[in-house]
């Protein structure tokens, strides 16, 4: 590319090269447009943050965390929603992490890549990642109906939908982590007499813990912000108690935001904005933790 400049500046110009120069008007306009596209995206992000901060900060106080919902905005808080989110996310993690990691270990370490079943599983994981989140809500709804559960608003139901939703993400992140462990580690372990499973359990998995942790935290942060499947499962309810078990009724932070956004009173919109700020802070912390783990513990072979 430096070659361009030199030719265009030189005296001998048998070829018409002026229009090709890096600093001709058209390439400069093009570069300007590229920067503009990033700028537009970022300015929307900044506007969004400013909007919820301006609306939410006046009512962002400890009351939001400690109070129960109320029909009067000045008294209302999101305490049950916060606890509900904690319950649902922890249950989701317990359900999805062992399953996702096990499936990834099978696909990456033991599966015969030419077997039709394993190829089908692989294609299927890709496909599941593209299924709209609300469909997982319908799946869990149908499952609960099949078990003849009358009350669909239970923690385990919501966690089931979210687990299946993020399962493909966990599987793909884990596989990437396993793939990054070099072959020599496995060979050395096998050569010392370890069985394949011992090799995986004592060498490969520990070595890939940082990237698995990073991927899992990111997947769980996605589940934390997700509302659509829980909406289908009846999580939009007026809850004035602390959820206390897997069969307890619950609501979550995103659902609480949805609920308050839909109310006509301005006070509730402020609460929705304040809760959004709270949710974004939690998500930001989770992301920061994930990035920290990746940078601090990831081995470079």
């Amino acid at each position: 590319m430096k070659a361009d400049n030199r030719t265009s500046e030189s005296d001998i110009r048998p070829l018409k090269l002026g229009g090709n120069a890096e600093r001709a008007p058209r390439p400069l306009i093009f570069l300007g447009l590229l920067w503009l596209s990033l700028l537009v995206a970022f300015s929307v992000l900044v506007t969004l943050l400013v909007t919820i901060l301006v609306e939410g900060l006046p009512v962002l106080s400890s009351d939001l965390v400690t109070e129960y919902p109320s029909s009067r905005p000045e008294e209302a808080g999101a305490r049950p929603a916060i606890l509900g989110s904690v319950w649902v996310i922890i249950t989701t993690a317990v359900l999805t992490l062992p399953l996702g990691i096990a499936a990834a270990v099978h696909l990456e370490e033991f599966a015969d890549k030419h077997n039709w079943l394993n190829r089908l599983i692989e294609l299927n994981v890709q496909n599941l990642a593209a299924v709209p989140s609300i469909i997982y809500g319908l799946l869990a709804l149908g499952f609960l109906a099949m078990l003849q559960v009358d009350n669909k608003n239970i923690v385990i139901g919501g966690a089931l939908a979210l687990s299946l939703l993020i399962l493909p993400v966990v599987i793909m992140a884990t596989r990437e982590g396993l793939r990054a462990v070099p072959r020599e580690i496995r060979d050395a372990s096998l050569a010392l007499g370890a069985t394949p499973w011992q090799t995986v359990w004592r060498q490969v998995l520990p070595a890939s813990v940082p990237s698995i942790a990073t991927g899992s935290i990111l997947a769980l942060s996605r589940a934390l912000g997700e509302a659509a499947p829980l909406l289908v499962l009846g999580a939009l309810v007026y809850i004035t108690f602390d959820p206390n078990g897997l069969l307890s009724g619950y609501t979550t932070l995103p659902i609480q935001i949805f609920n308050w956004t839909g109310r006509p009173q301005e006070g509730f919109h402020q609460l929705a904005a304040a809760t959004s700020v709270l949710l974004l802070i939690v998500l930001l912390l989770m992301n920061a933790l994930a990035i920290y783990i990746r940078n601090a513990y990831q081995k470079r072979w």
Binding site: M1, A3, D4, N20, A21, E22, P27, L33, W35, S37, L38, V40, A41, F42, V44, L45, L48, I52, E55, L99, A102, A103, H106, F110, L117, N124, V125, Q126, N127, L128, V131, P132, I134, I135, Y136, G137, L138, L139, L141, G142, L164, L190, T195, P196, W197, Q198, T199, L224, G225, A228, L231, V232, I257, F258, T261, H269, A272, S276, L280, N287
Partner: protein, 318 residues
């Protein structure tokens, strides 16, 4: 991969007795149990797909025993809760088309512009800063985007600042915000595709006297086309399946949407809204949810299949 080589070794040790005895027989038994458990976990992902199909198809069969498929697919009035109930899904589809189109008009130029900048122009150090910033956009919960679309884009920008003749909701505000939401999806996949074009092609282009703009547009872009199309198609499927933004900002009146300033109910918006009411399991209302869900599922699977097929057929292998 590596471990399969060890796996093939096992039968031979087992069959010929002269192999050194390593006290591994007991371990091997537990080993195969563990492997079976792992395999079951992987198979469970298929069970999820089968489960989705069963969960959607069975209520849909009861639905279609009461409503004809022709009426469902081509009927132009969607009023499942009215006394004179009508189940034409066309209004929901028009709203979905509008929001998706508007989102793409925003997301495709912005996403591809960002991708070209990151892949062809940005210094690696700059890219390391810009990419995570772009990914923050993908991390914002959709319900927060919905709040933003309704409270700021619709109320403040469209109605107050621009004075557009629009009511409390519109497919325009939902579509615009959804577009911004899928920018990182398109940008990140398209950038991957363009970065994997070998630099020999760029050098060849530069050696022939092309500048960076010409190289990007006439060499790199066509070479990465299959990946770029896949990125856009994934963006489409995100937009079709997105729920919270449209449930909040697009409105919930099912009508044929004629202008972007109209309100309308998308397929996802209907499912979200109808699920709020407590419909009895097995009732027609309940089954309607699953019939629309099945349509949505098949639609996204079709879009996904197109994407995979496109990548397979047109991928340039270097």
């Amino acid at each position: 991969m590596t471990i399969t080589s060890a796996g093939t070794r096992r039968p031979t040790t087992r069959s010929d007795g002269e192999a050194p005895v390593l006290f591994t027989a007991r371990r091997r038994w537990s080993e195969s149990v563990i492997k079976l458990v792992l395999r079951l976990a992987a198979i469970l992902t298929i069970a999820t797909t089968v489960g989705i199909l069963i969960a959607l198809v069975i209520p849909s069969i009861s639905f279609f025993s009461e409503v004809s498929i022709i009426e469902f697919l081509f009927g132009t009035r969607w009023a499942p809760r009215f006394a004179q109930a009508s189940f034409g899904v066309v209004p929901l589809i028009t709203a979905t088309l509008w929001t998706t189109m508007i989102a793409l008009i925003v997301a495709v130029p912005l996403g591809l512009g960002a991708a070209i900048l990151l892949s062809e122009y940005a210094h690696p150090r700059l890219r390391k800063i810009l990419k995570p910033m772009l990914e923050i956009l993908a991390g914002v919960p959709t319900v927060v985007y919905g709040f933003f679309a309704l409270q700021f884009v619709q109320t403040t920008v469209l109605r107050e600042w621009l004075g557009l003749p629009t009511q409390a909701f519109s497919v325009l505000s939902a579509g615009l915000v959804m577009g911004v939401m899928i920018v990182p999806t398109i940008a990140s996949l398209a950038e991957d595709a363009m970065s994997s074009v070998p630099s020999a092609l760029r050098q060849g282009s530069a050696a022939l006297g092309a500048n960076r703009m010409q190289t990007s547009l006439r060499v790199v872009f066509p070479a990465a086309l299959s990946g770029i199309v896949a990125a856009v198609v994934l963006g489409i499927s995100r937009a079709v399946g997105e729920t919270m933004i449209v449930a909040i900002a697009a409105g919930n009146q099912a009508q044929i949407v004629a202008s972007p300033l109209d309100q309308g109910q998308t397929m996802t918006g209907f499912i979200a809204n109808a699920a709020l009411g407590d419909s009895r399991v097995g009732s027609l209302e309940y089954n309607t949810l699953f019939a629309v869900g099945l349509l949505l599922f098949l639609l996204t699977m079709l879009i996904n299949a197109i994407s995979i097929g496109f990548v397979r057929r047109y991928r340039e292998v270097y």
